[in-house]
Symmetry: C2
Subunit: 267 residues, 2 copies
């Protein structure tokens, strides 16, 4: 590996996965392998996987599936030839009956033949497109996590999975908000267009300064809060369902795939 | 002409033009020849036409040109084989030094060899697309003209043509506003995406209940005002320039072309 490749900025997606596999990278993946799609991970036993697949199909904006493994297989070849869901993320969370029981750097010892892995698109992809178009992203500029809110928008229920949509919020000047609708509409497989602009009370958000997840960011007088469906939605829905067993990525420690963000542009 | 063709709803674009040419249709064209592009008309002497052409090139959102005639020719073949700018609109306005001097149903007697005709896209095209997508358009529902406002957004000057952008306003619920951005973005040659959403004060609009042109419509608490660049902009700019001679369409009495709205969709 040459020097250039050893810096985070210029790592290829595979290099990032290999670094995870070797236990070298155990933190967040933001900014790793720029240009490549990163995904949220959910692993569920087969008996719940069908319900979850239907939940995702019925709620594609908060839960855009970009890859699903075969039962018992930790591979998702369409996201990377060598990709192994058990080892290729920096850190995992293991849940039993809704309780967090472990945060390991691999889940080899937890893997069983009845597990199914789901990879869900994430907002990193569209944020890259926003920044490329000079649409500023406040939480990135402030070095924070995006603020996220539970809404009064109900997801469509599937089996044991039900709950409200969680949204992420980015404050934008109106002309940038319009541009952001255009840009993110091009990426339906990574949450797509916003679900709401400007009137948080009407989707059940009382106080923009008190997010349910993530950090608070300033919303200036000349800005509108713009809300996108958020990948925390399926995490919250799974937490509420308290499955006997589940594995997810640790917050910010995503799966880095070989698919380019640009491949996901619909037009 | 059969009975079906004699009703406004089922008239072809050419039938509408012929009805204008014969002096049978002298009123508004809204709803005539549904599906076909209607245009604003501006006719200027050659010495001003170059400035106006550059004004339109520099300000495509308020002034999207869909056809320009040769000097001295009343024809615009790309908008209709038989089309004659002198006769094919229901009613015209004739201006001298900024003063309205006549409102004839044809301008045959005013036509001279140094005139140039400009046809400018109009919001009817994108409103049809909004309605087709079940995005409600308030002023249509209320049987009114769209409310229009002068803004503090300066157009880019070209020769004698300068002035602020005029915008039209449609109140929409936030989810519809997002859909409207997507839909109207597909029609860049008929004003395209909105120029502003939600904070009228920041574009110099003090009171939404007092439009500078058109009618007042209600904006409900659960709605955002959404603003599009408006074809009244070039009309206002020409009025301010007080050219020695100019002809325009009379308000609402547009040129009906053979181009379909669907042809103008960029994607």
């Amino acid at each position: 590996m040459d020097d250039r490749k050893s810096s985070g900025q210029s790592r290829s997606a595979r290099d990032v996965r290999v670094a995870c596999r070797k236990g070298v990278l155990t933190g967040q993946t933001a900014g790793s392998a720029p240009g490549y799609v990163q995904g949220n991970l959910v692993i569920l036993p087969r008996d719940l996987a069908d319900d979850f697949l239907r939940f995702a199909q019925r709620n594609p904006k908060p839960c855009p599936l970009i890859g699903v493994s075969e039962v018992g297989s930790p591979q998702v070849p369409e996201l990377g030839d060598d990709l192994d869901l058990r080892t290729d993320l920096p850190r995992y969370r293991v849940w039993r009956h809704g309780e967090l029981v472990d945060e390991p750097t691999d889940v080899l010892s937890y893997w069983t033949a009845d597990l199914v892995g789901f990879v869900i698109g994430c907002s990193f992809s569209f944020e890259e497109a926003l920044l490329a178009a000079d649409v500023p992203v406040r939480h990135i500029a402030e070095g924070k996590n995006v603020p996220m809110f539970r809404t009064n928008i109900a997801c469509t229920t599937a089996g044991r999975f039900a709950g409200p949509m969680v949204v992420s919020m980015r404050p934008l000047k109106p002309a940038d908000a319009i541009r952001a609708v255009q840009i993110t509409s091009r990426f339906p497989s990574v949450h797509g267009a916003p679900v709401h602009i400007g009137l948080p009370g009407s989707i059940g958000i009382g106080d923009l300064s008190r997010p349910d997840y993530g950090d608070t960011v300033a919303v200036h007088d000349d800005e509108l809060p713009v809300f996108w469906a958020c990948g925390v939605t399926p995490q919250a829905v799974i937490a509420a369902a308290k499955p006997a067993f589940a594995i997810t990525h640790a917050p910010g420690a995503m799966l880095v795939t070989d698919r380019k963000n640009s491949e996901f542009a619909a037009f």
